[in-house]
């Protein structure tokens, strides 16, 4: 069972990591050239701001304080549960994030689903029929999946589905139909990675003696493969899924841009480009927390999948 010690140690390391991320972010954004005042004002006014306007903005947002002071202020606020306000307006950053999180989550889960639905059967079939044409075909497919730059794939998908076949919307968000193409775009790369992983993991497991024990019982091959072998083969796969979730969160930028979807990825990129630091800070923090939490989840899943795994010491 999960001990308190374990939880305490995980919590401590997670906190350290999250704190580390926030420090790094803060350091980095203040190294970045460009004055938020000028950039934000020119965006907001759709014209060059005047010198007076810029000075007023700077004063209003405390941008004239020394960086460590700004960081401490920010940190204090975070501990009070306040992620700050966007430089653009009085909009709390938390509101901005909460607004887009469902879209990101929806896309991440859909992509994960696409990836799993494709990769697990493909990987298993590939491993079971090692060296056969099916295996080669699935391996090649997986390789094509990883090799394709995702924005290229996105445009090709749009060309194929809505424009040529007349099915599925081109862009937008809000319905299941809108989710299909982005999920395929994002999921295919992951599917490819996971397929290869499932395959190699399965190949190893299928060589294990306990698989033969299961066969020797007189079990059907299907049960041998999908019950006895697959469960073991999934153990390394889970790690990758955990790491890939991070990719899904901020690697989705390209997909979000092309398919015109709101999301954490484009929120972050826009914020960086606009030097909207409170938003950058908050999104980074949220991603880090999600990452850390996911890895904890991965560990717990590990423990479920493989009772040998001891929850302790090792993190992630």
């Amino acid at each position: 069972m999960i001990g308190y010690d374990y939880l305490a140690s995980r919590l401590a390391t997670s906190l350290a990591v999250t704190f580390g991320v926030s420090v790094v972010t803060y350091g980095l954004i203040f190294l970045t050239p460009g004055d938020p005042a000028e950039i934000i004002l020119s965006q907001q006014l759709d014209r060059q701001p005047s010198a007076a306007e810029i000075e007023a903005f700077r004063a209003e947002h405390g941008l004239n304080d020394p960086v460590p002071v700004q960081y401490l202020n920010w940190l204090t606020d975070v501990f009070r549960g306040d992620l700050g306000t966007s430089y653009y307006s009085d909009m709390p950053v938390s509101t901005l994030i909460i607004e887009v999180v469902p879209f990101t989550l929806e896309l991440a889960l859909a992509a994960m689903l696409v990836a799993l639905v494709i990769s697990i059967p493909a990987g298993v079939v590939s491993a079971v029929n090692r060296g056969s044409p099916i295996d080669h075909a699935s391996q090649l497919g997986a390789l094509l999946g990883v090799s394709m730059p995702n924005f290229w794939l996105a445009y090709l998908l749009i060309l194929l589905f809505p424009l040529t076949l007349g099915v599925l919307p081109v862009a937008g968000a809000g319905s299941v139909g809108h989710l299909v193409l982005p999920a395929i775009t994002l999921g295919s790369g992951m599917a490819a990675v996971v397929t290869r992983l499932v395959r190699s993991s399965m190949l190893e497991v299928l060589d294990e003696a306990y698989v033969d024990t299961a066969r020797a019982k007189g079990l059907r091959e299907r049960i041998v493969v999908y019950k006895h072998a697959l469960r073991n083969a999934l153990v390394p796969v889970v790690t990758i899924l955990g790491l890939q979730l991070g990719t899904l969160l901020n690697g989705a930028v390209v997909v979000e841009i092309i398919f015109q979807r709101p999301g954490l990825g484009s929120l972050l990129v826009d914020a960086v480009f606009e030097r909207n630091y409170p938003v950058v800070q908050a999104v980074t923090l949220v991603t880090a927390i999600v990452f850390v939490a996911t890895n904890l989840l991965v560990d717990l899943t590990y423990r479920y999948l493989d009772p040998r795994v001891q929850l302790g010491g090792e993190t992630a």
Binding site: D5, Y6, A8, S9, A12, T13, E208, A209, Y210, D212, T213, A214, R215, A216, K217, G218, L219, R220, E221, R222, I223, Y226, K227, H228, R231, N232, L305, D306, P307, R308, G312, G313, E314
Partner: protein, 701 residues
Amino acid sequence: MTAQPPDSALLSVENLHTRFRTSEGPVHAVEGVSVTVDEGEIVGLVGESGSGKSVTARSIVGLQDPGEIVRGSIHLDGVAVTDATDRQLRRLRGDTVSMVFQDPTETLNPVFDIGEQIAESLKVHDQLDSQSLLEYLHVPPFSSRSEWREYRERAIELMAQVGIANPEDRVDAYPHELSGGLRQRAGMAIALASDPDLLIADEPTTALDVTTQAQLLERLRRRNAQRGTAILLITHDLGVVADICDRVVVMYAGEVMETGPTDRILESPRHPYTKALLECLPQRVDRGSRLPTIEGSVPEPTGDRTGCSFAPRCDRATDACRDGEIPTVDLGDDRGTVTCGESSALESHAARSGTATSDGAPESGSATTGSAPGGGPDRSTSPLVELEGVSRRYSLANGPIERLLGTDDTLRAVDDVDLEIRAGETLALVGESGCGKSTLASLLTGLETPTTGTVRIDGTPVGTAADRDAETLADVGVVFQDPRSSLNPRLTVERAIGEPLRSNGWDRSRRRERVQELLERVGLADRHATSYPHELSGGQVQRVAIARAIALDPSVVVLDEPVSALDASVQSRLLNVLADLQADLDLTYLFISHDLTVVEHIADRVAVMYLGELMEVGPADRVFDCPTHPYTRALLEAIPSLDPGGSTGTSLEGDRPSPVDPPGGCVFRNRCPMAEPKCAETDPDQRQFGPVRAKCHIVHE
């Protein structure tokens, strides 16, 4: 292959050829094996590693994949396995034949508890043809909970039958939570769940301690007696065969060399190979004298062969043996068959043939240092190595935070050990797996720091390896438990042996000379200098490890299970090498082994360890001939005797307690047949019984 198997045979394998396709050409793993097993019979299949035993067994249950059966037939209960459909095969496996695989750590699925795995087997047997994936995955609407619960109940019964104590508690355990012996028993339960007519057990006891092995063999014998289950027992241990088999089939290089009733084979082996194999067992040789060996090595299974595959190693081989067709001769009177071209083989001819070369008389008596009682190392000299009150505890907390929080479970690996090793002697350390032998060795070598106590070498206290100076380090040579993993796979033999020389500042040309000298000493050819470990056989790798250990002229060499992983024939050769080295270089050995027959052969003195404590220490002949401590006695009794029909003593019942939570009082008391109430109360002191020191309340002079 003239002998027609009787129609009644439960299993009849005829002229089986199983082959593997590999990138280096086909591997002929099985070349024309014929075996029969009648109902209720126990047949032993013996042979050295790589002789094709496992492949034969797997072929019988249709699991030879990725190999293929290219010729021959297998009939199980009248069904031809080679032509069977998937469905028929499943029926056979679920009903007629069961198999227990070689390694207990790997035969159980690590992610399901053993109850599930046994229940599954029961269910398959009950409902052979209606297996739905979702049901077996326990997906709710497709799978009935109550039904599974019932199967689990029956699983508990079965576990009790194979001798698992407290099966109700163990049914939910995962394989990693069980000891090797329990795992093997669980594997047995899975196999027996289908109430098979034939049980194939592939080296079921090889990885186990003698005591556990004895328990398990006893179960098998009982099963056979009670339910008439036929058993095909695969092993390389002739002692096990002698113990329970009715009949023996001897394999070599994928072929059957000889078959016959156990008594006949052990008493009057006909085939030169069988004879040689029997001769190099240490049991059969006088303590301390040289062991006979079989020169040469098992032929590569690739490539074509003609004639008898043993011919290159057989000193009685004729030209006919090398080229011709080798006849299989039925000895008649149910005395079995022999596949040999040499007519002399047919004569019953006891013991020493010329094949196993008992290579000469002991060279000026040096190899027999320990044999003559009293003629051993000079007892008056001060001991070379001294351990005084040495203990080693492991903290089970891992991770710095846990350590901070002070989670405090400790494991007693070695507990308050006093031991001395005198110059020139061979001290053997024996005990069951996990009793702390290797840890004790590490304390001596400095890989581990004692939690309490001191280690002295030549009278000076020494610390860990990092603290020792080059001279002290050089003074102790080590041969590790697993020879292969103790060599860096990326270094050639030459570099590996040269590594200690290098760190002692030897220059290149000196190193080269020394390496050559060492190779010669351990009996390796010069050409092996540039080989990588993976290019060498197990015996050769072990020689390299030995060469490296003696490179810096140590005075004491720690040998951790140096021969356990090796075949009998290779083992005997290596033991001879060790004896020669000791004689020539005046080495002191700490020889760790769980194989008492080997220890009996080589040791001057013996230390018996149990749960981190020394139970008995004394001269080898005394300990073996007249053991003092009940534990030593139990260990000796558990050794399968080579005498056919010889009794196997009562095996030690019960499981070893955990070193994390050892019993109070005498640690052995809960398994001790002689335990008395006071054993539970106080921990006995070490007491001297003549030349022997033992730790027991009960025994008296």
